[in-house]
Amino acid sequence: MRKVGIVILALIVSIFSFNGNEIFKKDIRNRLVIQGIGIDVEDDGKYSVTIQAIDTDAQSASSSDDASKPPLKTFNVKGDTIYTAIKSVTELEGKLPLYSQNRIIILGKSITEENMDDVIDFFVRDVENSSSVCIAAAEKTASEILKAKNGEEYISARNIEIAINSSEYDGRIFRMQLYELINRYNSSTKDFAIPLLSVVEKDKEKSVEITGTALFNNTKYREKVSKEETVFLNMLYDRINNSALSYDYEDGKKVSLNIIEAKTKRKVRVENGKPTFEILIKLKADITEINGGVSAKMELQEIDKISRAGENYIKNDSEKLIYKMYNGYNSDAVGFGRLLYIHETEFFKENEKNLDSVLQNSKFEVEVSLEIRRIGHEFVV
C-alpha cells in the first residue's frame, strides 16, 4: 500500500513538474503552428518575415476531416531582427508562435544577395528550430512564395518541402537542410548550393516550382543552374540516388534512363603546384524509353552505343558545369576545396587565402562509367 502511494505521488508530481505552466498556458490551441518562414529585407533595412501557419481556428470549425490539408493563413511581420519580427505575430493573432513544426525556411533575393550572415544565427541559436528543416532561396521574394495561392488555397509550405525532399528520387533537385548549410557555411570556403523557388503562373493557375539551384560563393548568391544541370551537380557531389536522364544517342534518337545506383569517387593530387581532381562517376541504369518506334529486340551493340553515348553526355555536361562553377560563378558548391583541405593539407594551408583562383586554375578529370542493367520488355540479340 505504501509503495502504491509512493507511485501515485510520483505520478502526480510528474504531471505538474514535467508540464509546468505548459499545461495551463501553452497548449496547442494557444500556439500558432508555423509551417513556413520566408525572409526578405525591406528598403529601410528591416526584416520582412512572412509566416505561413496552420489556421487552427478554421480547422476546428471546419467539418472536413482531411488532416493532410489543414487550412492555412499567412502573416507578414516586420522587425529589426528575425526574432522580434516573428514574435510580433502574437499581436496579430493572439497566439504564441511555435516553430518546431516549421517545414521550410525561404530566403528572398534581398537576403541571398546581401546579408545572409545576419539572418542565419536565429535559426541555429533558437532551440525550437529543427536542425533538419529545409532551406531554399526565392528567385524574387520569399513572401511571394509563401503567399502564392492556387485558387482559394495557399500553396502549402509542406508541399514545397515534399517537393524538395523528392531529391531522393529526382536528381534535378538539390536538397539542403539547415545543419548541412551551417556545416558548409562554417567551412573554409563558405560556398554552398540551395534549391531555388519561383512562383509560376500557367492558365491562371499558380504553382510554386523548383526552378533550379542557387550557387553561393562566400555566403553570397552568385548564379542559378538549371534543373537539368543540377543532376550533374548532384553527381559531382555524390548526392544522387535515383534520377531520370535523357540524351541523344544516335541521330534523332533519344533514350531515357532511370538511374538506380550512383557513386562518385573524388581524388585530388597536386602536381607542380597545381591541383588535379579526378572524378569517377559510376552509374547503373535501366532503359525506360527509346523514341523512334516500338521494337521487340535490341542488339547488344546498341546497348553499348547507348552506354557510351551516356558516358560522353555526362562527362561533357559535368565538365561544362565545373567550368561554369569555378570560372563563371566562382563557387565551390560541390566542395572540391574541402577535398584539398583534407588530402593536400599543406598545399591548402599555403593557398587558403587565394583558394578561388587555385580552384579556377585546377585541372578536373571526369571519368564516367555507365552500366545498363535492364532494358525493359525487349530481348537482346
Binding site: A10, V13, S14, F16, S17, F18, N19, G20, N21, E22, K26, V124, V127, E128, S130, S131, S132, Y179, E180, I182, N183, R184, Y185, N186, S187, G335, R338, L339, Y341, I342, T345
Partner: protein, 363 residues
C-alpha cells in the same frame, strides 16, 4: 570502521561505471573543445586510454597490497584523524560532481526540452529520485545498471545505425591540423570529467570477480563509445556540431528510421537513465563515507541531508548560465581528480614504503 559490506560483481560494478561515464559522454558540451578540429576528436579518446591507465598506477599498487580495504580504510588503520580529513575531501568531490551532473540535466531540460518552463519541480523531483536510488543501496544500483544497460546500449547502437546513410567523409578534417598539444589537452580534460576513477578508488574492495579485466573492458568500451559517437557527430554534422550546445542530442534529432524521425526522444531517455544511476551512486557514496566516518546518524539521514543540500545548490545554479560555467569548470575537475586519484593514493603508498623501511631498519 570499514565502509558497509554489501558487495557486487565486477560486471555489475563496471556496467554501473559505464553508464555513469556514458552520461558524461552524451552530455558532452562543445565548449570544451573549441580549439580542436573535428577529426582530432576521434583521436583524443585513445589518448584518454593512455592517460587514464597512467593515473590509475598508484591505485593499482595500493590495491595490490590491500584487497579488502578501500583507500580511506587503509588510512584509517593508521590515523583516524587523517582518514576523516580525507573522507571530507572525497565527500566534497562527489558532492561537486553530483551538483554538476544535475546542473547539466537542468541546462539540457531548460535549454532544449522545456525552454520556457520553470524547472524547479523537475529539479527537485530528479534529486529526490536519485536520493531514492542511493537509499536502495549499492547492490540495487548495480542491479538497476545491468537492467538499464539492456536499454541504453541497444538504444545508442540503434541511433548510430540510423545515421549511417548521413555519413559524409568530406566532413572530416586533417588529423593534428593544429598539432598534437590541443588533442592531448582535450584528452586530459576528458579524464578530468571522469569521476569514475575516484569511485573506483573507494568502491573497488566491494567488487568481486576479475577487477583488472573489468577495468580494462570498461576503459576500452567507454573510449570506443566516445570515438564512435564523435565519428558520427563529425561525419554527419561537420562544422554544425560546434555550433550546438549539446551536439550529441542534435545528432540524435537528425536520426531517422523509416517513418520515425527525431530519435532524440530515445536519446533523452538514455540520458535520464544514466543520470539516475550516476547521481544515485554519487549520493550513495557520500552517505556511505559520512556514515562510516561520522557515524552519529543513520545512512538515511545523511541521504536526506545530502539531498536537501544538493537541491539548494542546484536551485542556486539553475537558470543562471554564469554559475553553470563557473561550476562546470574543467580545470577544477582535473585538479580534484588528480588529488583524489593520484595524489592521495601516492601519499599513502609513500607512507607505507617509509613505514616498511623503518620496520626493516628496526629488524
Amino acid at each position: 570502521m570499514e565502509l558497509s559490506k554489501g558487495k557486487i560483481s565486477a560486471f555489475q560494478f563496471f556496467t554501473m561505471l559505464f553508464l555513469s561515464r556514458t552520461l558524461t559522454t552524451v552530455t558532452y558540451l562543445s565548449s570544451y573543445t573549441e580549439n580542436i578540429r573535428l577529426s582530432d576528436m576521434l583521436i583524443q579518446p585513445f589518448f584518454r586510454i593512455i592517460i587514464g591507465s597512467i593515473i590509475m598506477i598508484p591505485l593499482y599498487f595500493l590495491y595490490k597490497r590491500n584487497t579488502d580495504k578501500n583507500l580511506l580504510d587503509i588510512v584509517n588503520s593508521k590515523s583516524k584523524l587523517v582518514a576523516r580529513g580525507l573522507s571530507i575531501i572525497f565527500v566534497l568531490f562527489f558532492f561537486y560532481f553530483t551538483v554538476v551532473t544535475i546542473a547539466r540535466l537542468d541546462l539540457f531540460a531548460g535549454t532544449i526540452v522545456f525552454p520556457e518552463t520553470d524547472l524547479t519541480y523537475i529539479l527537485i523531483f530528479a534529486i529526490v529520485l536519485c536520493c531514492y536510488g542511493a537509499f536502495l543501496g549499492f547492490e540495487a544500483l548495480g542491479r538497476s545498471s545491468v537492467i538499464s544497460s539492456a536499454f541504453v546500449i541497444p538504444a545508442l547502437i540503434f541511433i548510430m545505425i540510423t545515421l549511417v546513410k548521413k555519413v559524409d567523409f568530406l566532413n572530416l578534417t586533417p588529423i593534428f591540423y593544429n598539432g598534437v598539444t590541443p588533442v592531448v589537452k582535450v584528452a586530459i580534460d576528458s579524464v578530468g570529467q571522469t569521476v569514475e576513477y575516484a569511485i573506483i578508488a573507494l568502491a573497488l574492495p566491494r567488487v568481486t570477480g576479475n577487477v583488472k579485466k573489468g577495468f580494462f573492458i570498461w576503459l576500452i568500451s567507454q573510449t570506443f563509445l566516445m570515438a564512435v559517437m564523435f565519428f558520427f557527430a563529425c561525419t554527419v554534422m561537420g562544422n554544425f556540431a560546434s555550433t550546438q550546445l549539446f551536439p550529441f542530442h542534435t545528432l540524435a534529432s537528425l536520426a531517422e528510421f523509416a517513418m520515425f524521425s527525431r530519435l532524440d526522444a530515445i536519446f533523452t531517455s538514455v540520458w535520464i537513465m544514466c543520470a539516475f544511476i550516476k547521481a544515485g551512486l554519487l549520493i550513495y557514496l557520500q552517505s556511505d563515507i559520512l556514515t562510516t566516518y561520522f557515524g552519529k546518524f543513520r545512512r538515511t539521514t545523511f541521504i536526506f541531508a545530502i539531498g536537501i543540500i544538493t537541491i539548494i545548490a542546484n536551485l542556486f545554479v539553475s537558470g543562471q548560465i554564469k554559475w553553470f560555467n563557473f561550476i562546470d569548470n574543467s580545470m577544477i575537475k582535473i585538479v580534484l581528480t588528480l588529488i583524489t586519484v593520484v595524489l592521495i593514493p601516492l601519499l599513502v603508498l609513500m607512507l607505507f614504503r617509509k613505514e616498511k623501511r623503518v620496520c626493516e631498519k628496526l629488524e
